[in-house]
Assembly symmetry: C2
């Protein structure tokens, strides 16, 4: 049994809590948050606290707070020589106070308050300062059914950058698709199967091989026609930049496309 104290009440903390709850080999002995109210609804199921001085003993302390608060919170912990990890994609492991054994437990997934997650599908990137603590973090990942990946800080930060492209930026393209549909009273829902297939396809082939469409075909007529159709300057700039990027990737001559 791995005992855990959770610190923080955001999306990651909440999803971790739910995943731990389902696991038979993890026990959440306590949940800390600066403001009690955010986690008080869980008070029947787990010991909650807003005081660091009241923190119980556990095998792992998981700091799942905003990036800016991680370092300070790790220094404020009133104990030493225990295992303390953060869950951030971009904060360095060394930002954690070294009075404790430090590490990173980064679930590579997008967490929203309301969307349920199949946690066993989430890759967990783990990192430790002292090698002997690696097994504990790997076991914690496996205890919630996840595949642990041992990576370096640099790899994690690179992965987080790549994640911003494939997740946040992709979602913004969905948003733009939604906006464009709305201008002509088209239900965005019609695009759902296409969006799903686009995401599925790259599990069978590389994104390079999966590319299709006017930019990939260097179909200047269609590109010109589509640029004319675009109503927002912001969308036009994104269209031009990403079409040029596709052409570059596929070695197509990329003379600038102008809107008439």
């Amino acid at each position: 049994m791995i005992s855990v104290v959770l610190l923080g009440a955001g999306n990651v903390a909440t999803h971790l809590y739910k995943a731990f709850l389902k696991s038979e080999t993890v026990s959440v002995v306590q949940w800390y948050n600066r403001t009690r109210a955010s986690i008080s609804s869980y008070a029947n199921d787990v010991d909650i606290t807003d005081s660091l001085d009241e923190l119980k003993e556990a095998d792992i302390y998981i700091i799942a707070v905003s990036d800016d608060s991680i370092s300070q919170l790790s220094s404020d912990l009133p104990f030493s020589n225990r295992m303390v990890v953060h869950t951030s994609g971009s904060v360095a492991m060394h930002d954690l106070d070294k009075k404790n054994k430090i590490g990173v437990f980064y679930p590579l997934q997008t967490f929203s308050k309301t969307a349920e997650i199949e946690f066993s599908e989430v890759p967990i990137c783990v990192e430790v300062y002292e090698k002997e603590n690696l097994t504990l973090l790997k076991d914690l990942a496996k205890a919630v059914g996840c595949k642990p990946h041992k990576i370096t800080t640099e790899q994690r930060q690179t992965l987080h950058l790549a994640a911003v492209f494939v997740n946040n930026f992709t979602n913004q393209l969905y948003r733009i698709g939604h906006e464009i549909c709305e201008t002509k009273n088209i239900e965005f829902k019609i695009l759902h199967p296409l969006i799903e297939e686009t995401a599925k396809k790259i599990q069978q082939m590389s994104p390079y091989m999966a590319q299709t469409g006017p930019a990939k075909r260097n179909d200047k007529k269609t590109i010109k026609r589509q640029l004319k159709l675009i109503e927002k300057e912001e969308h036009e700039a994104i269209y031009k930049l990403l079409a040029a990027s596709i052409k570059k990737t596929h070695n197509l001559t990329s003379r600038p496309v102008t809107k008439k």
Copy 2:
């Protein structure tokens, strides 16, 4: 039974052929292509031809050739008063020669030669010149298990534009994610669950609600750190433009982010 003649040998034609083959209410009476070789491997299963003069009679002629060739091919057809449709997202219906009954049968999906498609998930956008032909096209869509959507030319072209954003451009973001991973020897596969979840999430909530990440949080520190991490100028430009777009969508002050 709806009888069909297919014209063209690209990805759309091939996927349509396979979908029709599975249907009990559609019969492909002939498959035409300019060059016989591209479809000769199907010669045992269907009558193939490279001569327009040999075209057989059918309820619907489906022109699934490149956008630039649609108009000419429709004029070259040696008959009149039959139902002729194209499958393009962006070509106007009126580009088809009006000696025949014209329409559009646009499957809104991304088709690659090698990726298998669950055709019943594909929305089919239909359009007709004369109202009385609408039922036939809708029936054809239903015959392959698809949902038909009656839309106008303007709506179809808008939908095609939105599709370029959510499919081609999204796929290019996957490609960039892949490139970024490779620079640090990270397997792109680790991002697959995140990519799939990002696509799934917007079936439960709007892309607006689904947004997360540093730009959405207006987390300037992380954005700055990530811009430093980016090695390619092209990726930097895309990062800046899409981060700014997210901030604009979510009404965050958007002072330009500079790379140090």
